[in-house]
C-alpha cells in the first residue's frame, strides 16, 4: 500500500533526525571535554607550589602566576564593589519603582543593548574615559571599573528576574500592616531575592574573571614582578588606597602572554594558568548553581 510505505518513510526521517539532533548536541559537549582534557594534559605537570608563589620569569620552568592571581583577586574585588550596588539598585528601581513611561522604556532597551556590545568596545571606552579623561591611569581601579560596567547588565537582569518571582501578595501583605515602600523592599524584596541576585553576581564575576580583551586595551601589563601595595598600613588611618593605582596583571592576560610566545615550554605555563582560571570559573558556576538550589529549597512561593 502506498500510504503504509509513505508512513514508514516518514518515520525513518524521524529516526534519522533524532540521531542528527543527538550528534549536534554532542558537538558542543565533546568539544568542551576535548578542551578540558587537552588543557589538563598540557598543564597539570606545571601545577606545583612554586607556580602559584613565583612571579613571571623569562625562564619558563621558574615562572609563576603569583602577581596574576593576586591581580585577578584584587580586580574582581573592585568589580564586585562597583557592579553589585549599582546593578542591584538599578534592578530594584526597574522592578519596583519605574513608572511606565518613555524614560523607563529607554533604560530597558538600553540595558538590553549594552549586553550585546562587544567587550573590547568597553575597553576602548575605558581607555578614553577612565585612563585619560579621569586620569585613573592603567591601574587596578580602571580595570575593576571597566569589568564592572561590562557585567552591569548581567547583574541588573539577574536582579530583575529574582525580584519578579516574588508574588505580589507578599508586597501587599507588607503594605497592609503599614510598611513604607522602602521598608517593604528592605525587609522582603531584597532578602527573598538575595539568592537569585547572588547567583547572577557570581555568574557575572565568573564572566569578568576570564575577560582579557578590554583589559588589554586599557593597558594591563604582562610582566609584573611585584604585588600591589598593601591596603593596611602601620600608621594612622591604617588603611591605604595606594593599591588602587597600582599596575597589575591578571590570569587571562598572563596566559595570553605565554601562549603568544613561540617556545613550547611557555605554552605549558599557559595551559597551567588556563587550567587555574578554568577551575576558578567552574567553581564559581558550581557555587552559583548550589546557591540557587539552596534558596529554592528555602523559599517556595
Amino acid at each position: 500500500m502506498k500510504i503504509r510505505k509513505d508512513i514508514a518513510q516518514r518515520k525513518r526521517t524521524d529516526k534519522v533526525f533524532s540521531l542528527v539532533g543527538l550528534i549536534a548536541t554532542l558537538v558542543g559537549i565533546v568539544t568542551l571535554l576535548a578542551l578540558m582534557i587537552d588543557l589538563a594534559w598540557d598543564g597539570t605537570a606545571r601545577l606545583n607550589w612554586n607556580f602559584f608563589t613565583a612571579f613571571p620569569s623569562r625562564f619558563p620552568d621558574k615562572a609563576g602566576i603569583l602577581s596574576a592571581w593576586v591581580g585577578t583577586g584584587v580586580v574582581m574585588f573592585v568589580t564586585a564593589l562597583a557592579a553589585v550596588p549599582m546593578g542591584v539598585a538599578a534592578g530594584v528601581y526597574l522592578e519596583e519603582y519605574a513608572p511606565k513611561n518613555v524614560m523607563t522604556t529607554l533604560i530597558e532597551i538600553n540595558i538590553a543593548n549594552l549586553a550585546g556590545v562587544p567587550s573590547i568596545v568597553y575597553g576602548l571606552m575605558a581607555l578614553g574615559l577612565f585612563v585619560y579623561k579621569f586620569q585613573f591611569g592603567m591601574s587596578i581601579l580602571t580595570a575593576g571599573l571597566t569589568l564592572a560596567l561590562l557585567i552591569l547588565p548581567i547583574v541588573i537582569m539577574a536582579t530583575r528576574e529574582a525580584i519578579r518571582t516574588i508574588p505580589g501578595s507578599i508586597r501587599e501583605a507588607a503594605f497592609a500592616v503599614g510598611a513604607t515602600k522602602w521598608q517593604m523592599i528592605r525587609h522582603h524584596i531584597l532578602p527573598y531575592s538575595a539568592g537569585g541576585i547572588l547567583t547572577g553576581v557570581i555568574i557575572g564575576l565568573s564572566r569578568a574573571i576570564g575577560e582579557s580583551a578590554p583589559l588589554i586595551t586599557i593597558g594591563a601589563l604582562t610582566f609584573i614582578a611585584f604585588l600591589p601595595a598593601s591596603p593596611f598600613t602601620g600608621t594612622f588611618p591604617f588603611l591605604s588606597f595606594e593599591w588602587l593605582k597600582s599596575p597589575y596583571t591578571v590570569l587571562p592576560i598572563q596566559a595570553f602572554n605565554w601562549v603568544s610566545r613561540p617556545q613550547k615550554a611557555f605554552h605549558l605555563n599557559a595551559a597551567a594558568a588556563g587550567l587555574t582560571l578554568m577551575a576558578m570559573t567552574l567553581a564559581m558556576n558550581g557555587a552559583a548553581i548550589w546557591i540557587r538550589y539552596r534558596f529554592r529549597k528555602r523559599i517556595k512561593w
Binding site: R10, G21, L35, A90, N113, W182, P252, L282
Partner: protein, 328 residues
C-alpha cells in the same frame, strides 16, 4: 534609627483589650501618625538614588558613543572616509601608512562566517532536539554542560584553537598555516553554540502545545511537526538568538588574536592568516602608542566600525523579528 516617628495621639484611647484567652491586658499601643517629614524625604531620596543607578546605564552608552565618536572624528580629520572605505591596505603603523579598513572587515567577516556556518545549524538542531525530542532527563543533564561552554575563558579557547584544533586540521589539510582563520572561526562557532541553542530552545518551548497537537492530529511525525510548525512559530525568538550569536562572533577578540595571526590581509579565504578588527585593537594596545597620535585614534575608528556592524545586524534582526512575530 527608627524609620517611623510616632507620637501618642491627642485622641484618648480607651478601648478595652479583653482578649480571648488573654492572660492580662496590654496597654494600648501609642496611636501612630504616618511617616513624618524626615521619612517622606528619606523615601524620596532612596527612590532618586535608585533611579540614578538605573539611568547610569544610559550614561555608559553615552560614554561609549561619545568616546568612539570623539576619537574617530579626530581620525577622520586626517584620513578621509573615502580612503578609509576603499583603500585595500591597513598599515597605519608602517612608514608607508595605509588606512583602508577593508582588510580588517574582511577578516572579521570571514571568521564570523566560519563561526556562524558551524554555530547556526548545530545550535538550531540542538535546540530542536532539546525542545522536541530529548527526554526530560537528557535535557536536564545536557543543558548545564552546554551552558558551561559560555563559562570557559576566551583565552582558553584561543589556546585550544592554536594548539589543538590547528594541529588537528593540519592532518587533513597539510598546507594549513599555523595561524589561520579556519580554526579560530570553528572554535568561536562552538563557543557561541549555547547562545544560539538556549535562546532558540526557549522560543520553541514557548510555542503552545495545542499547535503541536493540531499537527500530530493531522498525522504528522515529530520531525514534520518540529520543522513545519514549531520552528516557524518560534522564528522570531530564533532570529533574536541568531543576532546574539552574530554579535558574539564579530566581537570575539582573544581567539582570533591568538590563533588567526595579526597581519591585516585582504582575503576571504579562511585557510589564510588575517587580522580582524578586534585583533588589530589588541595588537595596537599591546604596543606603546602615544595618546592622541593618529595610530592611537585608529583603534577607535576600528572600534566604531565594529559597533556599526553590530548595530546594523541588531536592527536587521529587530526588523526580522517584527516580521516573523507569531501571535498565538
Amino acid at each position: 534609627m527608627s524609620l517611623v516617628t510616632h507620637r501618642a495621639s491627642n485622641r484618648p484611647v480607651t478601648r478595652e483589650t479583653s482578649l480571648p484567652g488573654g492572660v492580662h491586658r496590654l496597654s494600648p499601643l501609642p496611636r501612630l501618625r504616618g511617616p513624618g517629614l524626615l521619612q517622606r524625604w528619606q523615601e524620596r531620596a532612596i527612590q532618586a538614588t535608585l533611579f540614578l543607578a538605573a539611568a547610569s546605564s544610559i550614561a555608559i552608552t553615552l560614554g561609549i558613543v561619545g568616546i568612539l565618536g570623539f576619537e574617530s572624528l579626530a581620525f577622520f580629520k586626517q584620513v578621509s572616509l573615502f580612503t578609509f572605505l576603499t583603500d585595500t591596505q591597513w598599515t597605519p603603523l608602517f612608514d608607508d601608512a595605509h588606512y583602508g579598513i577593508m582588510p580588517l572587515v574582511a577578516g572579521t567577516a570571514t571568521v564570523a562566517a566560519v563561526a556562524l556556518c558551524l554555530a547556526l545549524p548545530v545550535g538550531t538542531i540542538t535546540a530542536i532536539y532539546l525542545s522536541e525530542y530529548a527526554p526530560h532527563r537528557v535535557r536536564e543533564v545536557v543543558k548545564p554542560f552546554l551552558e558551561l561552554l559560555t563559562a570557559v575563558p576566551t583565552v582558553v579557547y584561543g589556546y585550544f584553537a592554536l594548539l589543538f584544533v590547528t594541529p588537528l586540521l593540519r592532518h587533513f589539510i597539510p598546507s594549513l598555516p599555523g595561524f589561520n582563520m579556519l580554526s579560530a572561526g570553528l572554535v568561536i562557532g562552538v563557543m557561541i553554540i549555547p547562545y544560539v541553542s538556549s535562546l532558540s530552545e526557549d522560543a520553541m518551548r514557548a510555542v503552545p502545545m495545542h499547535l503541536r497537537e493540531a499537527s500530530y492530529a493531522m498525522g504528522a511525525t515529530r520531525f514534520q511537526t518540529s520543522t513545519r510548525v514549531v520552528f516557524p512559530a518560534a522564528l522570531s525568538g530564533v532570529a533574536a538568538a541568531y543576532v546574539l550569536g552574530f554579535s558574539r562572533a564579530i566581537g570575539e577578540t582573544m581567539v582570533v588574536a591568538i590563533a588567526a595571526g595579526m597581519q591585516p590581509h585582504l582575503t576571504f579565504n579562511p585557510m589564510e592568516p588575517a587580522a580582524t578588527i578586534t585583533a588589530y585593537i589588541v595588537q595596537v594596545s599591546l604596543g606603546d602608542l602615544p595618546h592622541g597620535s593618529l595610530g592611537y585614534q585608529t583603534i577607535f575608528a576600528a572600534g566604531l566600525t565594529l559597533m556599526l556592524m553590530t548595530l546594523v545586524f541588531n536592527i536587521g534582526g529587530h526588523v526580522l523579528r517584527k516580521r516573523f512575530r507569531e501571535k498565538y
